[in-house]
Amino acid sequence: MPMSAEEIRRRILAALPDAEVELTDLAGDDDHWSARVTSSAFAGLPRVRQHRLVYDALGGEMGGRLHALQLTTIPRTRA
């Protein structure tokens, strides 16, 4: 069973509570997602580490139950 948008959002928010998560269903099949995640947790981190935070939040399901996630991470800087 693929991972639903709700589950993706819930897992990301559990790990990054201040995150803003925008999900787009790329193929209309509930299985190929694009995510734009904005969080202060990314501030100052190299991109690889920003993406790892999100992959870790998804609990090892990347490439498995969640097979396609196009990811964009945006550090939120404090005003």
Binding site: R47, V48, H51, R52, Y55, G60, G63, L71
Partner: protein
């Protein structure tokens, strides 16, 4: 004790300046993400060594633990992990990928 598959991967990334672990080949990518990674490298005209993980199940699994990165494609430059296709695209759009190649002396002669 060194994992023999990790040792093979280490050998590949030390033997080539730019390595793309991908699904399929540059001519016939088998996945949209791999295709995008190839397009970026070809657009930058950077020579690269492609490893088709679909032809090698050991590497397909081993590269994930080697890099601590769950997905394919994966780009290595001078032995260092750069990222997957999303990071390549973000870096390309920001001009950072071009800087990285230029900084490592890998930019093609114009």
């Amino acid at each position: 004790m060194t994992d023999p598959v990790h040792a093979r991967i280490a050998e590949i990334i030390s033997a080539h300046d730019v390595v793309l672990f991908m699904k399929g080949t540059p001519l016939f990518p088998q996945c949209g993400f791999s295709s995008r990674a190839v397009q970026i490298l070809e657009h930058l005209d950077v020579p690269f060594h492609a490893v088709d993980v679909l032809q090698d199940q050991e590497i397909r699994q081993g590269i994930k633990t080697f890099s601590d990165w769950p997905t394919i494609p994966q780009l290595y430059v001078k032995g260092e992990f750069v990222g997957g296709s999303d990071i390549m695209m973000e870096m390309f759009e920001a001009g950072e990928l071009q800087e990285l190649f230029a900084g490592k002396g890998l930019q093609p002669q114009s």
